[in-house]
């Protein structure tokens, strides 16, 4: 299964998103709250910056020795009783998982939210193979009922208001009456999902960290759905990107201290679980089989690329929560699995640069993402790198290209440049008709549609300076 990307429609979808009242309401209610929570967590944790340096260094270290850590992890996980599988691409990963489910004679398959799972099209693959797929993360449950993609990597149903969720539950939950109270909505999902946990034959999750020295898989959730999904069924499958490795528990600890703080302003997620192998002699619960699928799906290409730092991402969404563009348009316009700054770097790699060419340009380069990233990924630099590629590969429209080239030539010739500036200043002054600002102007519609253009003051600095003005 491959995921269908729609990033080529970014401009259209972003514009449409700006005028969707429900989405706007949901974004307003959530993003400011998440920013305030992260700021609070930052203020109350003096070692935050030092820890960012350490976390970044750990991720760099692992990527530099990725072959070593992959082999070490495989050896230790196998010794602990896991079966380790390798998948070169999304199709191969889905095939392995579907075959394991078939081998387990599965009917019901429960899933814990995993962005890698979304990325490789696992939900679609499971549906296509005829399993009763149950998303247990509340937001993914909402998205499954609505037929929506995640619009945020941590809060995948961020685009939905409580009113919309209630409508959905009324249609799909047998016991639900229409109530907008968020607590009641959560209770309704609890009752529905509880039955599914026990009916499941296979539980599937992603991994936040893979511990090389013990072969353990670490998952973090606030809902505790991972624990129920991974303990109850007889077969447990973990799909994880090859970049998820860390050397040991202590290294995971450094990253854990940043993950929940960056995502939701919490010191630690409510549930942090390390799973090492399947049920052991004497155990009264736990799965009989534990499978781990290590997935490449484009990661080795990124490793070889200038974009390598994006592989350090721990999927906390701090960059997304602090992105002014995301804050206006939400996640769906990005047309992929990942959104905001990290999505604008990853999606061109997952889909193609041609298809996602608008994403790296849909950024004000304000740098707040760089500042909040817990592993110090230079997101705006990566965005500029991608912009350079769109330019080199002829993916920038010919009008902008011509304009930029022309401007470049003129700016490299001071005398010509002075003439051009004088002309531009006079033209704008004329357009302002003595009012000091321009409300509407041909060719400047992109600017003047939503704001006035303050008129130039008159004359250029260089001319006035040369005439002796001080």
């Amino acid at each position: 299964m491959t995921v269908t990307y729609t990033s080529q429609h970014f401009k259209r979808e972003a514009k449409a998103a700006l005028v969707q009242p429900n989405l706007q309401r949901a974004l307003d209610r959530t993003t400011t709250l998440l920013q305030a929570r992260r700021a609070d967590a930052y203020r109350t944790y003096p070692a935050f910056e030092t820890n960012r340096d350490a976390a970044s260094a750990i991720k760099d270290h692992v990527l530099r020795h990725l072959d070593h850590y992959l082999e070490t992890f495989e050896r230790n996980a196998t010794d602990a009783g896991c079966v380790v599988h390798w998948a070169r691409d999304a199709q191969e990963a889905c095939r392995i998982v579907v075959d394991l489910c078939r081998g387990a004679d599965a009917k019901t398959v429960t899933r814990v939210k995993s962005m890698l799972g979304e990325e490789i099209g696992l939900p679609e693959a499971l549906d296509g193979a005829g399993f009763d797929r149950v998303e247990t993360d509340l937001a993914e449950h909402i998205n499954q009922l609505a037929g929506d993609r995640p619009s945020h990597i941590v809060i995948p149903a961020l685009h939905k208001t409580r009113e919309e969720v209630s409508d959905l539950f009324e249609r799909h939950h047998p016991q639900h009456r229409h109530i907008d109270d968020i607590g009641e909505l959560v209770e309704s999902a609890r009752l529905t999902l509880r039955e599914k946990y026990f009916a499941a034959d296979v539980g599937i999750s992603g991994a936040n960290f893979l511990l090389a020295d013990s072969g353990a898989v670490c998952t973090v959730t606030n809902e505790g759905n991972a624990e129920l999904t991974m303990q109850l069924p007889k077969v447990q499958i973990v799909t994880a990107g090859i970049e998820k490795l860390v050397p040991s528990l202590d290294h995971a600890g450094v990253l854990l201290r940043l993950l929940a703080r960056s995502a939701l302003g919490m010191e630690l997620t409510q549930y942090t679980t390390f799973l090492t192998g399947a049920r052991r002699p004497g155990d009264r619960d736990g799965p009989e089989e534990m499978h781990i699928v290590l997935v490449d799906a484009g990661r080795t290409e990124l490793l070889a690329d200038e974009l390598r730092p994006i592989l350090k991402c721990i999927r906390c969404a701090a960059c997304i929560n602090h992105c002014p563009v995301y804050g206006q348009i939400g996640g769906h316009a990005y047309g992929g699995i990942y959104q905001g700054p990290m999505g604008s770097v990853l999606t061109p790699a997952m889909a193609s640069l041609a298809q996602a060419k608008d994403l790296p340009h849909a950024c004000t380069l304000n740098g707040r993402c760089d500042e909040v990233c817990p592993v110090k990924i230079p997101l705006t630099d990566l965005m500029r790198t991608l912009r350079e590629r769109t330019w080199r590969e002829g993916l920038v429209d010919s009008q902008s290209r011509l304009a930029m080239r022309l401007w470049g030539r003129v700016a490299a010739a001071p005398a010509l440049y002075r003439m051009a500036t004088r002309w531009a200043v006079r033209t704008l002054r004329t357009a302002a008709r003595g009012r000091g600002r321009i409300g509407n102007m041909p060719l400047a519609g992109a600017w003047t549609k939503g704001r006035d253009l303050p008129a130039p003051e008159g004359g250029t600095f260089m001319d006035r300076y040369r005439r002796g003005e001080r």
């Binding site: 972003a14 700006l18 002014p324 563009v325 804050g327 206006q328 340009h361 849909a362 950024c363 004000t364 380069l365 304000n366 740098g367 707040r368 760089d370 630099d381 500029r384 912009r387 350079e388 590629r389 769109t390 330019w391 080199r392 920038v396 902008s400 930029m404 080239r405 470049g408 003129v410 700016a411 490299a412 001071p414 440049y417 500036t421 200043v425 009012r435 000091g436 600002r437 409300g439 519609g445 992109a446 600017w447 003047t448 549609k449 939503g450 704001r451 006035d452 253009l453 303050p454 008129a455 130039p456 003051e457 008159g458 004359g459 250029t460 600095f461 260089m462 006035r464 300076y465 001080r470």
Partner: protein, 258 residues
């Protein structure tokens, strides 16, 4: 750049946007620097630092302009601009453009050490805690917008507020979310005008919530954007560049005609 003297030489990078749109910002900068004991020169070969090309992905055009800037300004003790954005480009991003050219990379490294944005130069390098212009005055309730590049690439944080608060008559009030982007983003604002407008509308709401009658900032791009939206919404809030207020040259706000 050579050893710093008592009366250091400063090459003033006017910036293309001040040159064309707001010459007063250039003159205000000149006054502030001279009053702060600098010998200021304005190289006449300067045009633009190349940032629009760089951020559009046109590295080649940007590199051509970058070399011109380094060549024009490297003889001064300092290069100063009334803009965090242009200075971020000149000081930091040029390094990326020259990464495969060791000679230019070395020239740039030496040059970059003397590169400063105006306010951080006055505050951090010249040690000023108040405007260098003795009779600077401004009557108004003033709020301040951090430009993102000033804030994050240059590290202009409290400097502007400290200097503004010291101007007699200024009643300073901070924004609720002073670190939020205004939605300008260079070419972003014309590539994605609707998103940009939506972001600046939030900024305007934040400004209005302070009750300030004046908005001051250190980057003309942001100020054109915010001033344009303020006047479109008919708010009556006056907009000035920080240099204009500090130099006592805040007479005609953005969007008014002399």
């Amino acid at each position: 750049m050579g050893a710093k003297r008592d009366e250091p030489t400063v090459g003033l990078l006017v910036t293309c946007i001040a040159d064309a749109m707001r010459p007063t910002v250039g003159f205000a900068t000149l006054r502030l620097l001279e009053a702060a004991g600098c010998r200021v020169e304005v190289p006449t070969v300067q045009t633009c630092c190349g940032q629009p090309a760089y951020n559009s992905g046109d590295a080649e055009s940007a590199r051509t302009l970058a070399k011109r800037v380094v060549a024009a300004f490297e003889r001064f003790d300092y290069c100063v601009a009334p803009s965090g954005s242009c200075m971020g480009m000149v000081k930091h991003h040029y390094a990326h453009l020259f990464r495969d050219d060791p000679d230019w990379a070395a020239r740039h490294r030496a040059f970059a050490e003397g590169c400063h944005e105006l306010l951080s130069f006055l505050h951090d390098v010249r040690g000023l805690r108040r405007s260098s212009i003795e009779d600077a005055r401004y009557a108004g309730r003033v709020t301040y917008h951090h430009s993102c590049s000033g804030l994050r690439e240059i590290g202009v944080r409290e400097q502007a507020e400290t200097l503004l608060r010291a101007v007699p008559g200024v009643d300073f009030v901070g924004l609720a979310d002073p670190e939020a982007c205004c939605g300008f983003g260079g070419t972003f604002c014309v590539k994605y005008p609707e998103i940009s407008t939506s972001i600046v509308a939030d900024k305007v709401a934040d400004i209005e919530a302070t009750g300030a009658d004046t908005l001051v900032g250190g980057d003309l791009g942001c100020l054109m954007n915010i001033a344009g939206r303020l006047s479109r919404q008919g708010t009556g809030v006056r907009v000035y560049h920080t240099a204009e207020v500090l130099a006592g040259m805040a007479d005609v706000p953005f969007g008014s005609q002399r």
